[in-house]
Subunit: 427 residues, 2 copies
């Protein structure tokens, strides 16, 4: 294979053989194929697209670039989940202990997010003492004892994806459905679970803005999982408005604790319970306790506390809080008909909850608390949003981000909310 | 300007501002923008195309990346020419002394070719003693004395093009019309001539396979020249069959000497005379001697000999010859209806006349001599081609390249040859 001919073939819309794609990924990961050739190939692929057969080859080459986690020492059914990312998406914090409470074993490996808020690791690290770097032996030992671990992906898994993602990030080639699908699935498959649940977000605050593109991505990912003999199901879920009532790191941990205590926002409860039910189906455990009961009887909270303690955290320590707050009030009375996920996400990011570069720190306490969601009646002058930041200078940009991000309509107009779970793909 | 946003804009087919393109080229040339971002941008541009305004900006940014040759000390009209490259294309070796003999001043700056044969510099260097590296002062002095110089482009001119071409060559982004046009024209404009003649080759042995694409390239280049106040004319010329009867370095020099002596193949004479006439029109010298007379009266040959001597060469020294020959005979009697330029070019390349990598040496004596051209009657068993190489092991691959590269038809069938000069663009 001459690399320049491979680039030319993709540029001209020809199909690329599985062997050539394997050699490309292998050579790139070992740095015998330079970045500038890979980025030209990725841009050609972005614009020409990849067939499913090509996507399978990309996925497998990335998966084979590193080790796979060996879960053979675990006795129970193993599950994993992935969300394509949204605003206020703290589902992992609830689903992982919920799955463990239901008798499944969940190893959730995460990366650092570049999103509106930090990723799952940042959220967890807002808990005093919490460690998210676990060795393989420690990880397996913890899961065999308490049924769950949420921690950082090790460097040994999928180095090809790390190298490719770093390049895609700076060459405007992130948004290719095939590259997204193979990036996610090669990491998930390297994680070794028998069942994988995918939460594909759709809407203004998500990467996928419309259902058709989200469905294409979901189908591709489910296909990649099935091709490897892994039970894989995707849910398409609404991300036009934030999930829950918080967007931030410690703020979302606090909200997750409410859900694990049997309360919390109804949409977070609905989504986490739905995900857990799909996991039970995937594991052939439909006779198990219903997930909603595990939230109300305290068993999911017990799993959570065990995980926090196992990873060095103090589940009873106060969470970090931002030093300053700013309240955005409702400008009129009526029904809140829109609260835009993207606007709230940008506000959270500007308040310090997210990072612009991988090496940046996030503020644990920063973020947005919502006092109403679409469909709720509000009174002019009441608090609509509370903004949290460590530095008052950040409020201006955040207020600008949310202005125009919500609509208040007549309280008497007909109101039909939108479904949270839009579609199921696979399963 | 954030580079990744610029790449994304081109990827999505948006127009890029002149300022952003200037900053991109500036940053890339100074290595503050890495290769991998430039190659992603180039591939996006290859597939999305560039508007004329964008091409102007690319051209000007490349031109401004280095110095421009200062020809103000020269008193007469200055001309330059460029060929997009074909098989057996030795026109520069004839046109440069022809232009000088007609009273024009020609500075032809060339690069090293990666084509089927070496470039113009390699052809000249097959003449014993000939130097092609001239300093600026030496160059201007030589041209003011004898009216011409054919030499290597200096590093001070158009460094952006050098860096971009090296990257395009290994990322399958050479073939973009806008990138080809701006690469050629930024170099030509840096050369400082008042009139530029472009010979855009069309056909099997050329980069442009069809007239429509060649016309697009020619129009763009003419537009770039005109935008800089330079008389610019392009001829679209046929490259389905090789030009002349030779393809090789010293072989083409010998053929050029025949033309400068008033003989030589009719197609070489026709093309060089046509190019010289267009140069005279561009220089407002239509009352000058006709170029064909300068070939027959010895004045063009005199200019040639002056140039060879001025650049250290011996015009009377024997040219290098290959040590081995192999004759390909006509398999049947009839009319030669096709002799494919690409087939002959690949054969010449395999015989050692061209190079695969910039650092490779070329064989001066290697190449192909044709004993018939399309339209000629041949007799079965007569020599059709003579192959020249320094190593007999090279003949196998060359024979393979030309087998299937020609057709012999009925001698009685109607025959209408194809025109050599297909179209004129500009002027």
């Amino acid at each position: 294979m001459r690399v320049v001919e491979l680039i030319a073939a993709k540029r001209d819309g020809q199909s690329i053989s599985s062997q050539d794609l394997h050699e490309l990924i292998y050579g790139f990961t070992r740095q015998s194929i330079p970045d500038y050739q890979m980025s030209a190939f990725l841009m050609a692929g972005y614009l020409r697209g990849f067939s499913f057969a090509e996507t399978v080859a990309l996925n497998d080459a990335m998966l084979n670039s590193g080790e796979r986690l060996d879960l053979s020492q675990l006795s129970g059914p193993t599950v994993d989940k992935h969300s394509t990312g949204g605003v206020g998406d703290s589902t992992t914090l609830v689903v992982a202990p919920l799955a463990a409470a239901l008798g499944m074993q969940m190893i959730k490996l995460s990366g650092r997010g570049l999103g509106f808020t930090g990723g799952t690791l940042d959220k967890l690290e807002s808990i005093p003492g919490m460690r998210t770097q676990l060795g393989d032996d420690e990880l397996i030992s913890q899961v065999s004892q308490i049924g769950l671990a949420v921690c950082a992906q090790t460097d040994k898994l999928d180095p090809a994806d790390r190298a490719m993602y770093a390049l895609r990030d700076v060459t405007a080639t992130v948004g290719s459905p095939a590259l997204i699908a193979s990036s996610i699935m090669s990491k998930k498959l390297a994680g070794g679970a028998e069942t994988i649940l995918l939460d594909v977000k759709v809407g203004s605050g998500a990467f996928m803005k419309d259902v058709a593109r989200a469905r294409e991505l979901a189908s591709t990912m489910v296909g990649l999982g099935i091709a490897h003999g892994v039970n894989t199901v995707a849910l398409l879920t609404n991300m036009d408005t934030p999930l829950g009532l918080t967007a931030g790191n410690a703020l979302e941990v606090a909200e997750s604790l409410e859900v694990l205590a049997g309360g919390g926002p109804t949409d977070v409860v609905e989504l986490t319970v739905t995900l857990a039910r799909e996991m039970l189906i995937g594991c052939g455990m439909t006779a198990a306790k219903d997930p909603s009961d595990a939230l109300t009887d305290g068993s999911a909270m017990d799993s959570w506390r065990r995980m926090i303690r196992a990873q060095g955290g103090d589940p009873d320590a106060p969470l970090p809080a931002a030093s300053s707050t700013h309240v955005v009030t409702a400008p009129a009375s009526g029904r809140l008909t829109r609260l835009d996920a993207m606007a709230v996400g940008v506000a959270a990011w500007r308040l310090g909850a997210g990072r612009a570069r991988k090496e940046d720190a996030v503020s644990f306490g920063a973020g947005v608390v919502m006092h109403a969601k679409p469909g709720d009646l509000v009174v002019g002058g009441q608090p609509l949003l509370t903004l949290y930041a460590d530095d008052e200078a950040r409020f201006g940009g955040a207020v600008e981000a949310v202005s125009g991000g919500f609509d208040i309509g007549s309280p008497d107009a007909a109101w039909s909310g939108s479904a949270l779970v839009l579609e199921k793909v696979g399963g």
